[in-house]
């Protein structure tokens, strides 16, 4: 029997072929009760095996968008960082999409990954390429701008408009370089909190992000739990493993080994492009999977090769191209500061994670991808386990994808379905205290 699916859901009914018990022609069989198709009494649990068919909804781009800037922490009211140092003034580059409702209750903060920026969706004037998560943000999309007010800002320490090591240090009149203080995920989130306050939003409907964005979403969930209704935590970890730190360290060493790096004070002269490109190449290797690489790259024997030792694989050209492209848009020092912030992220601060999670009323959606070996599903399950123990209302799905860590940017269909419905529930149930409210119970 096929379980009934309400007609309003975007699923196709299918599969569920009936088995025919009447194989023989014995006369006794006619005495047996006939199987009824509309059996409402007892039916075994059966999950449809047909592929999900997601309704192709009319979703479109939000069109031309503009980055805005928020300035705060003017001396003497500088922001105190986790490391104890003070930083100010701070500029935050951010973009918003959609309209804030009268109750100011439909705001969603999107938090970006290592190399992301405030430009998450739509097009900048004259650009052909949309923002980095345009597939997910816009009218009718997962983060539906017809319904929600979406905010995305560049992180502290970044190089896309928010104060970072390539910003001018007001004390010296020169760019910070390595004089920029060490920052953490928690500092990034504190800056976002100030931005949200500046936009006069008391409570966010959700904070959502993948990879480093997932870490920021976790930090929001833990430190500012009363200020958000939900968190969407995608392909991330609560603490970097040695392997994850190792890949970052190779990138950092490559940058610092570049003679153009000059202890971080390369501004005004040639940047450490070679080092940063190698760092990016290592990154790209970890973002893909064995399968996605095999599908994407072939060999081109006989053609012109990159260098004498090239094996003539397209992966070499790809990495070279990604690396060279990256140095045009990213600052090497930002790469050092941000990877360091990711590597030292540990919101449990020595406690058990479930203890830190206890009392969280926000709903949580955790997503992981099967082929992601950089942030393996086991790390997401660790987060889910803590949610279970702490009694946090959580949904977890491990999406079957071959894209590796990149999946969080590419598995649009399934993510859209899950996020859209998850947000709908949070949006329509916010403020209500019903049976679904998370009750705390002792372990």
């Amino acid at each position: 029997m096929i379980n009934k699916i309400p007609p309003d859901l975007p699923f196709q009914k299918g599969g569920g072929s009936q088995v025919n018990p009447d194989g023989g022609s014995m006369s006794l069989l006619s005495l047996l009760p006939k199987r009824t198709e509309n059996n409402v009494g007892v039916s075994p649990k059966r999950v449809e095996t047909s592929a999900l068919s997601f309704e192709s909804e009319k979703s479109q781009s939000i069109g031309v968008v503009k980055t805005q800037y928020f300035h705060f922490a003017q001396p003497p009211d500088e922001l105190t960082l986790e490391c104890g140092e003070k930083l100010g003034p701070i500029t935050v580059a951010y973009e918003t999409y959609g309209t804030l409702n009268d109750q100011r209750s439909n705001a969603i903060l999107i938090v970006h990954a290592l190399s992301g920026d405030a430009h998450a969706a739509g097009f900048h004037e004259g650009d052909v390429k949309p923002g980095w998560w345009d597939d997910m943000i816009g009218p009718g999309k997962a983060f539906d701008t017809d319904r929600y007010f979406v905010i995305c800002s560049n992180v502290l320490g970044g190089c896309k408009g928010t104060t970072g090591p390539c910003s001018v240090n007001p004390k010296t009149g020169r760019k910070y370089g390595l004089d920029f203080p060490i920052i953490s995920i928690s500092d990034m989130v504190n800056v976002q909190k100030r931005l949200v306050g500046h936009l006069k939003i008391e409570r966010l409907l959700s904070v959502a992000g993948g990879s480093m964005g997932g870490m920021q979403a976790l930090e929001w969930l833990i430190r500012h739990r009363d200020r958000l209704g939900s968190a969407i935590v995608i392909a991330t970890a609560v603490k970097h493993s040695s392997q994850q730190i190792a890949f970052h360290e190779v990138g950092r060493q490559a940058i610092m080994a570049d003679p153009h790096w000059k202890d971080g004070h390369y501004y005004g002269s040639l940047p450490p492009a070679k080092g940063l490109a190698v760092a990016r190449m290592v990154g790209h290797i970890t973002y893909m999977s064995d399968v996605s690489m095999a599908e994407k790259f072939g060999r081109h024997p006989g053609e012109e090769k990159l260098h004498k030792f090239s094996a003539g694989s397209e992966v070499e050209d790809y990495l070279q191209a990604r690396g060279n492209h990256f140095v045009k848009r990213f600052d090497a020092n930002s790469y050092l500061y941000i990877t360091r912030a990711i590597d030292s992220f540990d919101p449990s601060r020595g406690k058990d994670l479930y203890e830190v999670f206890r009392g969280i009323k926000a709903r949580v959606l955790v997503l992981a991808f099967k082929s992601d070996w950089l942030y393996p599903a086991s790390q997401s399950r660790e987060i889910v386990r803590a949610c279970k123990l702490a009694g946090v209302d959580t949904t977890y799905c491990e999406i079957d994808s071959t894209y590796g860590h990149d999946a969080f940017l590419l598995e649009v269909e399934e993510e859209t379905h899950l996020i859209k419905h998850f947000l709908q529930r949070v949006f329509y149930q916010q403020g209500t205290t019903g049976g679904n409210e998370v009750r705390e119970y002792e372990i």
Partner: protein, 197 residues
């Protein structure tokens, strides 16, 4: 969905569950039962399901679900974490049945178990006269494509509970459209039990 059109086993479970309680549905499938219970009984509900597409459907219904295996998904919960743990039409598909049931009884104050009755007369006739593995409305699979790992009868389960010192608080035996009161092990297509330690 109208109450009178609701599957009979759902109706029985609905009656057994207290309003406002916390419920864990193991192998919640598309969330059919759980979404109904949430609507009617104002529950704090959590599902565990292994099938990714089923999880998508649960999320569309506003349910909270974990992508996990019933054989492993419970160990992380503390004792008595839920008022009720439901294993409806999943018990027979669990690999380590003994362990899973003990875990369910640890995690929930009460456990509701529902399973197809292998000793239903229709199944008996098919085995006896045709010499074939029975295919019935409650056991619709052929021997080679069944997800069921355990084939148990109502008598089997009652005996099992006695052997394991599990208290049977309530029971219901159902066929297609009605509950069965006489000779349930012969006439009921499924058994439903409310048990506790």
């Amino acid at each position: 969905m109208r109450y009178d059109l609701l599957r009979l086993d759902y109706r029985v479970i609905l009656e057994w569950i207290e309003t406002g309680s916390s419920v864990l549905d193991l192998g919640c499938g598309d969330g059919d039962l759980l979404s109904w219970l949430v609507k009617e009984k104002d529950l704090r509900a959590q599902g565990i399901e292994i099938n990714e597409q089923a999880i998508c459907r649960c999320v569309a219904r506003g349910l909270s679900v974990f992508h996990d295996d019933i054989d492993h998904g419970l160990s992380e919960y503390g004792d008595m974490s839920f008022d009720c743990v439901i294993l409806n039409q999943t018990l027979q598909q669990v690999r380590k049945l003994d362990e899973a049931l003990q875990e369910a009884l640890r995690v929930g104050r009460e456990v509701i178990v529902g399973f197809p009755n292998f000793a239903h007369y229709f199944a008996r006739i098919q085995i006896f006269f045709r010499g074939k593995t029975p295919v019935t409305p409650s056991l619709p699979y052929e021997w080679h494509d069944t997800p069921n790992l355990h084939f148990l009868s109502i008598s089997d389960f009652v005996g099992y509970c006695r052997k394991r010192n599990i208290e049977i608080k309530k029971s219901a035996f159902i066929s297609e459209k009605r509950t069965i009161t006489i000779f349930p092990n012969v006439f009921a297509q499924a058994g439903l039990f409310l048990i506790s330690r």
